[in-house]
């Protein structure tokens, strides 16, 4: 089957998709977007988290056909997504994304395939600065989930962060530096208000 959808603001068309293929497989193997990771492919680890019409989902659990006509944001588009959100008068990130907003969102100015040339989003930079990246396999999913948390809640408590990221497994870091990174991104967003 053919699936038409938007990935990181760019219209995409996937042909010859087998009905059993997941959104994750289509992103990774057909779109050339391997940023979403294939760690468990059973919805347990969160490494493949993307936003589907603004909502964080495990892309391994979404059948490719379900995304027909919808908007997907992956880690490759996260920087642009955050920048666009910030430019639309929502610098704290606390204004949330309605379905309508998410549908109107589109990438501009950079290569939406790779994110190359884009400034990093605050959460991406914070992950690097706080030492929250080790092997990095969990990182894309955590970034998408953490970015969505900060969009909903600009000043999350530690308990809020733990709750929001409880669906994302990390085997390397012990999570402490991931907490640091989310706190750091939140603090930096506050400074820029």
């Amino acid at each position: 089957m053919r699936v038409n959808f938007t990935v990181n603001g760019r219209k995409q068309e996937a042909d010859d998709v087998w009905e059993g293929e997941s959104l994750l497989y289509v992103l990774r193997e057909r779109m050339g977007l391997p940023g979403s990771k294939n760690a468990c492919e059973q919805g347990e680890c969160g490494s493949c988290t993307v936003r589907l019409d603004g909502v964080p989902v495990c892309s391994c659990l979404v059948a490719a056909g379900q995304v027909e006509g919808r908007e997907v944001v992956t880690v490759e588009g996260l920087a642009d997504f955050a920048q666009q959100r910030s430019a639309s008068g929502c610098a704290t990130g606390a204004c949330g994304t309605t379905l309508q907003d998410a549908r109107q969102w589109s990438a501009q100015g950079t290569d939406s395939q790779t994110g190359e040339g884009a400034e990093l989003s605050p959460i991406q930079q914070a992950f690097i600065d706080a030492g929250a990246v080790q092997c990095g396999f969990c990182t894309p999913g955590l970034l998408v989930a953490a970015d969505e948390l900060l969009e909903r809640n600009a000043e999350p408590s530690d308990a809020d962060i733990r709750e929001a990221l409880s669906g994302n497994l990390c085997r390397c870091t012990g999570y402490e530096k991931i907490l640091d990174a989310v706190r750091l991104a939140a603090a930096r967003q506050e400074e820029t208000v």
């Binding site: 087998w18 059993g20 990774r28 193997e29 050339g32 391997p34 940023g35 979403s36 990771k37 294939n38 760690a39 468990c40 492919e41 059973q42 347990e44 680890c45 490494s47 992956t74 880690v75 490759e76 996260l78 920087a79 790779t114 994110g115 190359e116 884009a118 990093l120 991406q124 930079q125 992950f127 690097i128 600065d129 030492g131 990246v133 080790q134 092997c135 990095g136 396999f137 990182t139 894309p140 970034l143 308990a159 962060i161 733990r162 709750e163 990221l165 409880s166 669906g167 994302n168 497994l169 990390c170 085997r171 390397c172 870091t173 012990g174 999570y175 402490e176 530096k177 991931i178 907490l179």
Partner: protein
């Protein structure tokens, strides 16, 4: 080539000096946060096929026949290979003993053993084709524990063993045995006022790295193959792969692809040979990516263990003697079992002074899943047991458990049971003091937010199983000792190639090693070392491949020591060459070129007094200095096979933990509130990475304390829980605050005084949590992981 994201050079221009001791950031960080970093499962080639492995559904059986005709006939299937299709007489591989078949022949020895491989144009086609392969199994009796393995009439897991351990093991179903006898434990026991005995069980833990086993094999025009793969040691893989393919090593070119964690689980081969075989057979690139289910069968696990301990102490709290027997289940194939036995036995006493010991460690062959390397490597199981014993002794003597440990703590100069002196700082008592004197987290912290209990901070969390009633707190301590590097006489060297030249008007260093970056941060540290030694800011780290000499394994906490040492050594030699060029060109202008100690700093040649003699740009001009050198640490020696005596280890690493837990005694649920750690790292080359390693290791220890276990059905030897639904690793909700206290007491024998750090925090974390749960509940708890039924008695 069309491989996406073929590993690329990483150049990090540093705004700061970025030398050792600074928390410089990962050079691969930006790639990793943007999704551009190419992991082994991201490799792609335009006309590639997908490989899939058919695995045995039974644990022990004769293979009567294999019928692949239906699979081969399927549209989209390019190859189906079994044992009969292997191209050479070499059909087995192995880290130490070549006992592991590339594909099962004659019989299968464990559940999930590879039997056949398929290449097809879509991964689902490959899976469906594999499902059509018909295998006729005749099941055999199972070896599942020590009793069944060593029974006089026991069926042999490996008939016709001819490895070098067979001469000194009491039964062919024992892979390796290491006794250690020092002093006279029976005589010393007579001086003991109290004696405690314990029997402990350590469950089978999995590395559960997130990046699944995967890679891409591309046939090359010269009949060889290029392999892009995630591994811990490229050259060890190469040594095992080439003979099976019937190719000389130079025709198997390996490049490290992004590694999504390892923790020991990538020391053994998984899909490497299979992908190469399929690529060579079909003439097309072949990618294999395990899913999570298969990953649980694709790598070896931590040895489950039974440990029998006896300790004695005088009434004033001095240890008199220790006797122990450690039985490790190595499963169907040897993997790293012999070395794990060496570690478990030589570190079975822990970081304590005990002069009279009687020790025996063995590893079994069985039909359970194969076990091998995992972070802590034999020292973890022992630490779990000896720390429980320390608490039992302290309780019997009515002493404080920390003071009791401190009273018997090893110091610099203490002899290990192998007779080897610990000839570097051993701050065991100090590490314990540091975790003990930290302020405790507030009681009933779930009330901290206000009057209303925040259930998220309680055992059971959002399941809302308690509001604090029936919840009791406990505090527990543990400390451990881990060796660093490969022991027992292994030639544990590393190689580094360093090039220095002027690029774009700036001096640039290029570092090329075969070190596997598995997330630990070696690439960060290598750049720091090059900056420190060569005085440049720009350092390029080339991708690890087999075009440069071996770096040894990224395991045993050894890489910063050994490959870091190799980079340092090569840089020092490059520096000398650069200074020679400088002397040649400028020596006549200033006497200091001949007389002073010269350094490279800030892109200049300077005297140790700080006087600038020349710019590196002017010294080098269009010359390049390029050296590839091997580097070795002090040699070690094998343990005597009867007495266990010998200077077997290179270096030691020490960590202590204090665990604070809250237990819901009604439901048997545990919340670890805090897990404080103190560790001596010798010298923190990158403090940020050091803390990250310590927290990560601590969390894996927490995991095996309360949730992680591969459950093998004792009746069928089948794995019951090969998924992240059923094999639980700690989430961010299960993991507490982990305050880290880093001590830096230099080891004079090591580069910069550093100590390997990656494993030590995994040792004491588990027994500290267990001690805290015992402290909270009063239960004995002699197995790990602790499950709710162990706490509620149901």
């Amino acid at each position: 080539m069309a491989t996406t994201g073929t590993p690329t050079n990483i150049t990090q221009g540093s705004k700061t000096k970025g030398g050792i001791g600074e928390s410089t950031l990962r050079p691969d960080g930006t790639l990793k946060v943007t999704g551009e970093f190419a992991y082994s499962s991201d490799m792609w080639h335009e006309d590639m096929l997908w490989g899939h492995t058919l695995r045995s559904t039974v644990a022990h059986a004769e293979i009567r026949s294999i019928d692949v005709s239906e699979a081969l006939a399927m549209s989209g299937v390019y190859a189906v290979l079994t044992y009969d299709d292997l191209p050479t007489e070499v059909k087995n591989y192995g880290l130490e003993i070549q006992d592991t078949p590339v594909l099962a022949h004659g019989k299968v020895r464990h559940h999930g053993e590879p039997v056949a491989i398929v290449a097809a144009d879509h991964p689902e086609t490959a899976r469906r084709a594999a499902a059509k392969i018909k295998i006729d199994y005749a099941e055999l009796p199972l070896i599942t524990d020590e009793a069944s393995a060593t029974a006089p009439d026991a069926i042999l897991v490996h008939e016709n063993r001819d490895d070098h351990h067979i001469g000194h093991v009491p039964h062919p179903n024992i892979v390796h045995r290491q006794p250690i006898v020092r002093g006279d434990a029976d005589e010393a026991a007579k001086r003991a006022d109290v004696i405690v005995k314990g029997e402990y069980t350590f469950g089978m833990q999995d590395q559960a790295f997130l990046g699944p086993e995967s890679g891409l094999a591309v046939p090359s025009e010269d009949g060889g193959v290029e392999l892009y793969v995630a591994t811990q040691w490229l050259h060890s893989d190469l040594r095992q792969i080439a003979p099976v393919l019937g190719l000389p090593e130079e025709k198997v070119r390996m490049t490290l692809s992004g590694v999504g964690g390892a923790f020991g689980g990538r020391e053994d081969l998984s899909m490497q040979i299979h992908a190469c075989l399929l690529a060579l057979r079909t003439g097309k690139p072949v990618k294999i990516v395990y899913n999570r289910f298969e990953s649980f069968f694709g790598h070896v696990h931590r040895h489950p263990a039974k440990l029998y301990y006896e300790h004695g102490a005088t009434k004033d709290g001095k240890l008199t003697h220790m006797k122990c027997k450690i039985v490790l289940d190595g499963g169907a194939y040897a993997s790293a079992s012999p070395a794990v036995v060496g570690n478990a036995s030589s570190l079975s006493v822990g970081p304590y002074v005990i002069e009279d010991v009687d020790i025996e460690a063995i590893a079994l062959y069985s039909n359970n899943p194969p076990c091998g390397a995992m972070r802590g490597f034999g020292a973890v199981q022992a630490c779990f047991a000896y720390e429980a014993q320390m608490d039992k002794l302290a309780a019997k003597l009515d002493m404080d458990p920390v003071e009791f440990r401190q009273l018997n703590a090893m110091e610099q100069g203490t002899l290990l049971p192998t007779g080897q002196p610990v000839d570097s700082p051993a701050p065991v008592a100090e590490l314990l003091r540091r975790v003990k004197t930290r302020p405790l987290p507030p009681e009933q912290q779930w009330l901290a937010a206000g009057e209303q209990a925040d259930v998220r901070a309680l055992p059971g969390g959002l399941s809302n199983t308690t509001h604090g009633e029936g919840v009791v707190r406990g505090v527990g301590y543990a400390v451990g000792i881990k060796n660093v590097g490969f022991s027992e006489g292994f030639d544990d060297y590393s190689t580094a190639r360093v090039r220095m030249e002027v690029v774009g008007g700036e001096p640039v260093a290029t570092v090329h090693t075969a070190m596997a970056e598995v997330g630990q941060g070696g690439v960060t540290v290598h750049a720091q070392i090059a900056r420190t030694e060569l005085g440049v800011t720009q350092v390029t780290i080339q991708p690890a491949d087999t075009q440069v000499g071996s770096a040894g394994s990224t395991s045993a906490s050894r890489q910063t020591y050994v490959t870091g040492g190799a980079v340092k050594n090569t840089c020092e030699n490059v520096r000398e060459k650069v200074l020679e060029i400088g002397r040649r060109k400028f020596g006549s202008y200033h006497p200091a070129w001949a007389t002073a100690e010269l350094l490279l700093e800030g892109g200049k040649v300077v005297t140790d007094g700080g006087e600038v003699l020349a710019d590196l740009v002017d010294v080098l001009e269009d010359e390049a200095v390029d050296l590839e050198l091997e580097w070795r640490h002090r040699p070690t020696e094998a343990f005597d096979l009867r007495t266990g005596q010998g200077n077997g280890h290179v270096q030691y690493s020490f960590a202590a933990h204090r665990a604070v837990v809250e237990v819901d005694t009604e439901l048997g649920l545990v919340k670890v509130v805090e897990l404080a750690v103190a560790q001596d790292v010798g010298k923190a080359l990158n403090p940020l990475s050091v803390v990250g390693q310590i927290q990560g290791g601590t969390t894996q220890g927490l995991g095996v304390a309360v949730m992680e276990e591969i459950i093998v059905d004792p009746k069928t030897a089948k794995v019951r829980n090969p998924s992240f639904t059923d094999y639980l690793i700690p989430t961010i909700l299960d993991t507490p605050t982990i305050p880290v206290d880093v001590l830096e007491l230099a080891d004079d024998h090591a580069p910069y005084g550093l100590r390997g750090i990656g494993e030590a925090p995994t040792l004491s974390s588990t027994p500290a949590v267990l001690a805290a749960i015992r402290n909270a509940t009063g239960l004995e708890l002699n197995r790990t992981p602790v499950r709710p039924e162990h706490l509620t008695g149901t």
